[in-house]
């Protein structure tokens, strides 16, 4: 099974480990992520003002290119997923906007593509029970907090991958990998997102809340599907280093854990790129 795959800019640069770990895990699970022949930035934000069609041209171009390779496109980054899925729905449902965008980019796209997240492949196409059966190195005893952030879940009507309040898709995966998922109240709170550009204090506060909330509930690591969340959570810990309430928690992409559990060589998972290394913890737990 080959699934057309849109990596997005971040996975090509600072989140390389997210990309490589997903590709090797896919192979171990019997399918291939086939990178689109041609792709551009998704735009990284979904325009919230209704008349801003300009912001929709970039993601529509991505969809046009994806459509050439099949009826489905998958992605890993929560933001790319959010932008592509919402744009696709808007182009499909809003005839007026569709024709404006198509006229501008000189394409004919109708929104017929199916945009899915890598998690959906694992859950719906492979099945978590099959994933569990493929695990060679169960991550026994690893207390992992599933951090969803905002983009993977909201708005529910447009995304619908899981319940916006009280989602469980991450926890279900973590259980399949042998981890002990730790429920914590801030798992769907914002990390501070793009405020990392100009207002680091807000990011430090919000990410700090996520981290302390997870730590209080016993989590040893956090798992995410968003490079921006990963960055904010790591950087906030660096900024708070030494201060009261500071934490030293490894922040991993879910595919890195998946690769580990499937028995993939640690070197290909980009674990060394993470600011807080998970390997000592693995050793301590005897995994």
């Amino acid at each position: 099974m080959k699934i057309p795959y849109y990596p997005g800019c971040t996975l090509n640069t600072v989140a390389k480990g997210f990309d490589t770990s997903a590709r090797v895990s896919a192979v171990l699970l019997g399918f291939e992520l086939k990178e689109l022949g041609q792709w551009n930035c998704c735009g990284a934000t979904f325009p919230l003002t209704p008349d801003n069609v300009m912001g929709l041209t970039a993601p529509t171009k991505v969809l046009v290119n994806a459509k050439k390779e099949g009826d489905t496109v998958t992605t890993l980054c929560s933001v790319c997923y959010n932008v592509l899925k919402r744009t696709n729905k808007l182009v499909r449902d809003n005839k007026e906007k569709r024709s404006v965008i198509n006229n501008f980019i000189e394409e004919e796209y109708d929104g017929s593509l199916n945009v899915i997240h890598f998690l959906e492949i694992l859950r719906d196409k492979i099945g978590f029970d099959k994933v569990k059966a493929a695990v060679r190195r169960p991550l026994k005893g690893i207390k992992a907090g599933a951090y969803y952030g905002c983009m993977l879940l909201r708005p529910f009507e447009d995304i619908g991958i899981d319940k916006a309040e009280g989602p469980t898709i991450f926890e279900d995966l973590l259980k399949a990998l042998g981890c002990e998922p730790m429920e914590f109240p801030n798992k769907i709170e914002c990390c501070g997102a793009h405020l990392a550009m100009g207002n680091e204090d807000v990011v430090t506060k919000l990410s700090g809340n996520v981290l302390s909330s997870a730590k209080n509930k016993g989590a040893e690591i956090l798992v995410t599907s968003c490079p921006l969340c990963q960055y904010n959570l790591e950087k906030s810990q660096k900024r708070m280093e030494g201060s009261a309430g500071g934490t030293q928690m490894p922040i991993l992409y879910f595919t890195q854990l998946l690769g580990l559990a499937l028995g993939q060589d640690e070197g290909t998972l980009g674990l060394d790129k993470n600011l807080f290394d998970v390997r000592p913890l693995l050793k301590a737990k005897g995994v």
């Binding site: 319940k163 916006a164 309040e165 009280g166 109240p185 801030n186 709170e189 909330s213 209080n216």
Partner: protein
């Protein structure tokens, strides 16, 4: 040859300013069969009517046309006048030359208005020539009422009808009457104890000889029409013989098994043989069969051993009884929207997040804590309580778009009850708007805020979660523009009121309408608020929509007065404009049966002399038919006609145009 009289009304200048009424009258005189024409200033006035009567007699008219205003205005008036003059009222027809002609013309030369009036009147004349004499339908009335639902609205309705000397059957699906009101602690705005004002009414209903109470029973089937309904009621197996039981309660005392109490909203346990609450009416226990080891596994049977009058019967089965009634009042009440729908508030996960009805039980002297406010998780007295309003109400995305109406008031009441019981406690209320319309309601809310120190915060709550034994509430205070975080001990949700489970199937059994929220539709929201489109079925209480106790009681009484008015006659006269099946051409395709919105079409069996069914026919139940004409439109073999609106009449009118 018919003898028709045409009366053209000037309606002061309403018609005469754009229609030459004299010319209309003259033109009509030329039509064959018209023996009298004339115009008059005000036909509806007393002299106008007297004039009409005299002319009918003088010219021996057998048909009358009044060209005047809409038939909605004065059709009845003129038909009555004709009847007084010895004419069949259905031989009188109205031409609308005011609303549909003179009022829409402005031309002072009167050309167009006059021409149109002539056309319209001529059409009516040709139609009238095909009119037949009809008579009103008389229906006998069974003077006994059925009230479905034993909450406050149903009890009030039953009491009022019984007071009027008529018999009532009160059906309730729970083991006791009382409904939701029996669960409340105090009631706004007077703060009188709900049970203290409720239980006397319940007892009164049980003692009234005209009221037959059937609890643990459900209406299964409704047939018939106004004055003549046949209702099948399922009496669910109680496993206790109601005739023998003296309500001593020994069986409850000795029962060794427990289950979750529905009445206490899951906050305490009850025995497996139980009455829902101490003041239950009737005071006869019921066995919860699903949890009873005797019924499930033939073990125990302690209740049967201790019972003095030997009324426990583990073999009891459901029974279906049939009752004939003349009118039905539907008072099936409401329930709360499931709180689990709102994951952000943590209901169901966090023990100390409860619903408003659960708080009522906590505050009630007969509740699980004996009236002390103690939180469910550890039984401690909460010092900070957050009340969240509009949980699901006014929330199109996740809940319902309407306002549940009573939550602003009961939340204010909750803060007061809490303050009166926990003096050093602080309550916080998150609200959208305070809607306190009602007598002494606004003052009540002000008292909660100013006297009892409730902290009202205008804004929504984004998340509720547990932290170190506290319930953390994150929200916005939009008046100060700040985000707020409250470390609460308990959170109370003012959950949206929704229609009762199964409200739609009940409506289908009754043949009444309901909206998209499954609340029942009134005949007219303002002018016929307790009637339904189905004659003889009336509404009361929260099955119509969210309302408070005073409104429910008023509606119960209003519905009862409608029933008593109906029962004050032995027979009921109904408008004769009903559908009529041609028994020769009907081929029993049942398109009409499917199309009829009033379930007035029945299947009739035609039998030969040996009693074998040889064919089927559609039959119109004239008691139910409202004369809407839908069946006429769908009938493929043109076998249905509407009396007084036959195809023949309509074609005659069109041909005359």
């Amino acid at each position: 040859m018919p003898r028709i009289g045409v009366f053209v009304c000037q309606c002061g200048t309403n018609i005469a300013s754009t229609v030459d009424t004299k010319k209309v009258a003259e033109e009509m005189a030329k039509i064959p069969g018209v023996v009298y024409t004339g115009d008059y200033k005000f036909m509806c006035s007393a002299p106008g009517q007297d004039n009409l009567k005299e002319i009918v007699k003088e010219h021996k008219l057998d048909g009358v046309i009044v060209s005047a205003c809409s038939p909605h205005m004065h059709e009845k008036t003129f038909r009555k006048a004709c009847e007084a003059a010895g004419l069949n009222p259905y031989k009188c027809e109205i031409t609308n030359i005011r609303e549909q002609c003179s009022w829409v013309h402005h031309d002072p030369t009167k050309t167009a208005g006059t021409a149109k009036s002539i056309d319209l009147t001529r059409m009516t004349i040709e139609r009238l020539k095909k009119n037949k004499s009809l008579s009103k339908i008389k229906i006998p009335i069974k003077k006994k009422a059925l009230v479905i639902g034993g909450g406050i609205a149903g009890i009030q309705a039953a009491l009022d009808i019984a007071e009027g000397g008529r018999q009532v059957i009160l059906v309730e699906r729970e083991p006791s009457i009382g409904g939701n009101m029996a669960k409340l602690s105090e009631t706004f705005p007077t703060m009188d104890c709900s049970q203290c004002i409720m239980t006397p009414k319940m007892v009164e209903a049980s003692l009234n000889e005209n009221i037959k109470i059937l609890t643990w029973s459900e209406v299964e089937k409704v047939d018939g029409y106004i004055g003549n309904f046949t209702v099948q009621i399922r009496k669910k197996a109680r496993y206790v013989n109601e005739d023998l039981c003296n309500g001593c309660g020994l069986c409850i005392e000795k029962c060794p098994f427990k289950a979750t109490s529905e009445f206490e909203m899951g906050m305490s346990q009850r025995k497996v043989i139980y009455t829902p609450f101490p003041q239950a009416v009737p005071n006869i226990p019921v066995i919860d069969a699903a949890n009873c080891p005797k019924i499930q596994k033939d073990k125990c049977g302690a209740c049967a051993i201790v019972c003095g009058p030997k009324c426990i019967d583990f073999k009891q089965q459901d029974t279906v009884i049939t009752e004939d009634v003349g009118a039905i009042i539907v008072a099936t009440g409401y329930q709360l929207m499931p709180n689990e729908r709102f994951g952000e508030y943590g209901y169901g996960k966090i023990k100390d997040v409860i619903s408003g009805l659960q708080f009522e039980r906590l505050a009630s002297a007969s509740g699980p804590t004996g009236g002390e406010i103690r939180r469910p998780s550890d039984g401690k007295t909460p010092k900070n309580v957050v009340f969240i309003q509009c949980v699901g109400s006014r929330d199109e995305k996740k809940g319902v778009s309407y306002c549940s109406k009573i939550c602003c008031m009961y939340t204010a009441k909750h803060t007061m009850l809490y303050k009166h019981k926990v003096h050093d406690g602080q309550s916080y209320v998150f609200y959208m708007d305070i809607r306190a319309g009602g007598k002494r309601y606004e003052e009540f809310v002000r008292r909660a805020i100013e006297h009892d120190g409730a902290m009202y915060l205008r804004g929504r709550v984004s998340r509720v979660y547990e932290k170190d034994g506290k319930v953390i509430v994150q929200g916005a205070d939009t008046l100060s523009g700040n985000q707020v975080e409250i470390e609460a001990d308990m959170v109370v949700l003012a959950t949206a009121i929704v229609s009762k489970e199964g409200a739609d199937t009940m409506a289908q059994k009754l043949g009444i309408g309901y909206d998209k929220y499954k609340f029942y539709n009134e005949y007219h929201p303002k002018l016929k608020p307790v009637e339904t489109v189905t004659a003889g079925i009336y509404l009361a209480g929260t099955c119509v929509g969210p309302m408070d106790i005073p409104d429910s009681v008023s509606m119960g009484s209003a519905a009862a007065s409608k029933v008593l008015a109906l029962f004050s006659n032995d027979q009921m006269a109904r408008e004769t404009i009903t559908a009529n099946v041609n028994r020769v051409t009907c081929n029993a395709c049942w398109d009409c049966l499917v199309a009829c919105p009033y379930t007035a079409i029945e299947k009739e069996e035609v039998k030969n002399r040996q009693g074998a069914v040889i064919r089927m026919l559609a039959r119109v139940n004239e008691g139910v038919c409202q004369g809407c004409g839908v069946c006429v439109a769908v009938c493929r073999s043109k076998s249905i006609d509407l009396r007084g609106y036959t195809d023949e009449q309509v074609y005659a009118a069109i041909n005359a145009f």
